[in-house]
């Protein structure tokens, strides 16, 4: 899933300082699961905004709403009435949702309430790790199912580097060296031989370096305006 982190409240406050009628808008998918963009956060942020305005003697109105996925025209259309009644929207969806909102409601100011961070998942309750870099050319088949592009600090293809010690990455003691993990995994699977072959430079044409990327599913395209 997409993992996003809450923006510091000070930053949010600054962004919204000139608006009087604000909607805090959650998204019911990834960001809900990572506890930064769901209904609970909507309520929390709204409460903060109201209280902060009160402390500064400002009058504001804060609405709370949420939709299943902000990255779908139809779902954000469902809340059109609420949105168009506001001066500004604090979207706590990932960057995709924020942009959908901005495109859909060009007259309303849309602000991001989270920092979209990575694709990953919770490894334990409350702890999230990056797991995929969206390189567009998946190599997990050869690395024991562990991704060096997103999980090796240097995205090495022929790791581990000389900094790998005690299973930890040289960049941070907290970070496991994924190449050490790959080694162990391939060892378990009796595939260590794979690590003896030199992996040639990766073809990044499909990667984030070549954005914006686009995917077309010919068989599903219909000529119906959905926005």
């Amino acid at each position: 899933m997409i993992v996003a982190a809450s923006k510091p409240f000070q930053e949010i406050k600054q962004m919204l300082s000139e608006f009087r009628k604000i909607c805090v808008l959650g998204c019911g998918s990834c960001v809900t699961i990572c506890h930064t963009g769901g209904e609970k956060q909507v309520a929390e942020l709204a409460a903060q905004l109201r209280l902060s305005a009160k402390l500064e003697g400002r009058q504001i109105e804060v609405k709370e709403d949420s939709t299943l996925r902000q990255c779908e025209w139809e779902f954000i259309d469902n809340i059109r009435e609420v949105i168009e009644d506001c001066d500004a929207v604090l979207s706590i969806a990932c960057g995709v949702g924020v942009q959908y909102m901005a495109e859909k409601f060009p007259k309303i100011r849309i602000f991001p309430g989270v920092n979209t961070t990575f694709m990953g998942g919770p490894t334990e309750q409350g702890i999230f790790w990056e797991r995929c870099a969206g390189c567009g050319n998946c190599i997990l088949a050869t690395t024991g199912g562990l991704c060096p592009v997103s999980r090796c600090a240097k995205s090495l293809m022929n790791g581990p580097c000389g900094g790998s010690q005690n299973g930890r990455c040289e960049v941070s003691q907290e970070t496991p060296c994924v190449w050490n993990q790959i080694y162990d995994q391939l060892d378990t699977q009796q595939l260590l031989k794979t690590m003896e072959t030199i992996v040639p430079p990766k073809d990044w044409t499909t990667g984030a370096e070549n954005h914006p990327r686009k995917m077309v599913l010919e068989h599903l395209v219909v000529k119906k305006q959905i926005n």
Binding site: F9, Q10, G28, K40, E44, Q48, L51, S52, K54
Partner: protein
């Protein structure tokens, strides 16, 4: 108060076992939960809304609810009946408006026992004019005639009946159906329906030699006499024949008349006796001598007076078909001396009122045959319920039949199909999973204060003295809110697994094949998951749990807070507030500057609510929670700590003085410590 709004779990349609077990489906869990929150008046109203005799019921009900209470798995059941008694003794409801008689039909009710009173009560509330015809000069039926005063003070009956009368029910005493009035006379008088609740007034007797001797008396008449006059003619050596509850009542009543000795001869062994252990223990404790597994052969006498009972040893009481069919060992005779012998071997019906009336059918044991759902007899417009139908019933079973008959009468007269949802057959929440029992804190039962055994035998006063407020609340707080805990809305749940991972009792799960979480009846209502669910998909089924929100609103809407400065909102754990007998003093002392928002466990409180308090005008927020060693849910401290720290950070980010938001973990929510903390905070806020 919306107590009917408990969300039901559509997947299982479960109900708390205490409610399912109750013949009248008394909302046991919900009135207990109200007591746990100190909402006594509402609790009383809730009880009364279903139970026409709460004070009596709270004392002598056989409480099948407690037998089924899920607290049996952890230690002992909740004292459900005693809590009801607590409400009945200490609270009442002013009826401001007598229910309007909506309908022209008048209903005749025969017998002012539990069944008749319940039918009248419910019919009056439905809008009918009811008249009860009672052959005695007082109401209550067997409760007054049979049940001894030391178990049920007559005030308790009178209060309850008084209330029913206020609903517009008329009681005509000294009027016997069959002699003073008849089916025909009632019809002529214009009654549209008749409910028969005449009970079983005849005491059964034994078919053995000597029963006609002087000194051989019958149980219920004996009890009736003592209950009404405080006296009875008995000798020095009393023997009660019978092993049931009536026998115990007779024996204990006899003891209070101060003979030299009171014994009981029972066919059954100690274990087989058809009454509760509690009754037997009380009797033995008070001095009754038990002779078990002996059957009466003949009553010995001299000069026309009884001198003793010759007995035989019992081989078995029940035969292979489990029917009552006692058999004895030949030649096992022995004698129990007695100058008074009380027969307490069961009751039988007096059906003389049926004379000339052939349509109503009668069973072989002398009870009336009725339709099991409508309680109507074969005679059109005539209904029956209570012991006269049950044969050997209890007061709640009798009330249940009276209530059901009342609704059936209404539906018949109005040609409607009104339903009482409570009678729906719901499955009881199943027992706590064995693996979970260890995770649930054992909370010891509150002791019922009783009269000392020396004092008891000098009078017919009530033995059990009733709960104090603190004891009642503490007892109620043991309740696990079965079937009304957390609930996941499938439409909102995103399957994030947070609830699954954080529940201290490991209740929520996402079952194989499901995409959303499911919380079963083992939920302890700690509320941690309700707060942490990022999708706000979890709520409490019970509308009684507001997680502090309504209480906070109410506290800050109070006009008396205008101009109070500083005004502090104290969120505190109600579980920690009843370990000292000072709650009212504390509340009074803190009243001016501090408003208290009590919650059953602060783990239910969303941090946004602390912000809300400031938003609504508080100058300070004081969170006082229990330490882990006293926490009802065992380990909420960590969660409360995290959330208050988080809130403190948010507030300091908004530029708020740190002195305005304080958290303390203390062992009691009403001792000196909390006073000191509050007063310090008031001082500090004055200086800001």
């Amino acid at each position: 108060m919306n107590t009917t709004g408990t969300k039901s779990d559509k997947k299982t349609d479960e109900e708390a076992p205490c409610i399912v077990a109750c013949p009248i489906r008394q909302d046991a869990r919900d009135y207990i939960q109200l007591i746990a929150r100190r909402r006594f008046q509402e609790a009383y109203q809730l009880v009364r809304s279903r139970n026409p005799l709460p004070s009596a019921c709270g004392r002598i009900c056989t409480h099948p609810c407690e037998t089924k209470c899920r607290r049996n798995s952890t230690e002992t059941p909740i004292a459900i009946a005693w809590l009801k008694r607590f409400l009945g003794d200490n609270f009442s409801e002013e009826i401001s408006k007598i229910p309007i008689e909506k309908y022209p039909e008048r209903i005749a009710i025969i017998g002012a026992g539990p069944a008749g009173l319940a039918a009248a009560n419910d019919l009056a509330l439905l809008g009918y004019s009811c008249t009860i015809f009672e052959s005695n000069s007082t109401p209550g039926g067997m409760l007054r005639m049979g049940v001894p005063t030391y178990r049920l003070p007559r005030m308790a009956i009178d209060n309850d009946v008084e209330f029913i009368k206020k609903l517009g029910v008329e009681i005509k005493y000294n009027t016997t159906f069959g002699t003073d009035i008849t089916f025909d006379s009632l019809k002529k008088e214009g009654f549209s329906a008749i409910f028969i609740g005449v009970g079983l007034l005849e005491s059964r007797t034994l078919n053995i030699e000597g029963v006609q001797l002087d000194g051989v008396i019958r149980g219920v008449p004996f009890l009736h006499e003592v209950n009404t006059t405080g006296r009875a003619h008995i000798g020095k050596n009393v023997l009660v024949i019978g092993g049931g509850a009536v026998a115990m009542d007779c024996a204990r009543t006899a003891l209070r008349l101060k003979p030299d000795k009171v014994s009981v001869a029972s066919l059954e062994s100690r274990k087989e006796m058809p009454t509760t252990d509690f009754e037997i223990e009380e009797a033995v404790h008070e001095g009754v001598i038990l002779h078990n597994s002996v059957g009466p052969k003949r009553i010995l006498g001299k000069d026309g007076r009884a001198t003793g009972l010759e007995t035989l040893k019992v081989k078995y009481v029940f035969d292979e078909q489990k029917r009552f069919n006692p058999a004895f060992y030949d030649g096992s005779e022995s004698v129990i001396d007695a100058d008074t012998i009380i027969l307490a071997i069961g009751q039988a019906s007096d059906l003389s009122f049926l004379k000339g009336q052939e349509r109503i059918q009668v069973t072989r044991s002398g009870t009336l045959v009725v339709n099991p759902t409508t309680f109507s007899t074969a005679l059109h417009g005539v209904y029956a319920g209570g012991d006269i139908v049950l044969g050997r019933g209890t007061m709640t079973e009798g009330m249940a039949q009276g209530k059901k008959a009342a609704l059936a009468i209404h539906n018949a007269l109005r040609n409607t199909t009104l339903k009482d949802e409570k009678w729906n057959n719901k499955t009881a929440v199943s027992d706590i999973a064995p693996s979970r029992i260890a995770l649930i804190k054992k909370e010891q039962k509150q002791e019922m204060p009783t009269m000392s055994s020396e004092k008891r035998l000098d009078n017919f006063d009530e033995v059990e003295l009733g709960f104090s407020i603190n004891a009642a609340v503490k007892e109620a707080q043991r309740c696990m809110n079965c079937g009304a805990g957390a609930f996941v809305d499938d439409n909102l749940c995103v399957g994030c697994l947070t609830c699954v991972r954080i529940c201290p009792f490991e209740v929520p799960e996402i079952k194989k094949g499901d995409t959303t979480a499911y919380i079963n009846g083992d939920c302890q209502s700690c509320g941690l998951c309700v707060v942490e669910c990022p999708a706000r998909a979890i709520s409490f089924k019970t509308p009684l749990e507001d997680q502090g929100k309504d209480t906070l609103q109410a506290a800050l809407q109070d006009t008396f807070i205008q101009g109070v400065k500083p005004l502090i909102i104290n969120f505190y754990c109600q579980y920690g507030a009843y370990n000292e007998d000072k709650i009212d003093t504390i509340n009074n002392l803190l009243f001016f500057h501090v408003r208290r928002v009590g919650v059953l466990g602060l783990g239910k409180v969303d941090p946004s609510l602390y912000l809300k308090a400031f938003e609504l005008g508080a100058h300070g927020v004081l969170v006082t929670a229990c330490k882990d060693d006293t926490c009802h849910f065992c380990k909420e401290q960590e969660w409360i700590e995290r959330r208050t720290k988080f809130t403190a950070q948010l507030l300091s980010g908004l530029g708020m003085d740190a002195r305005r938001f304080k958290t303390h973990f203390i062992s009691s929510q009403n001792g000196k410590e909390i006073l000191d903390i509050a007063f310090n905070m008031i001082e500090e806020l004055r200086n800001i």
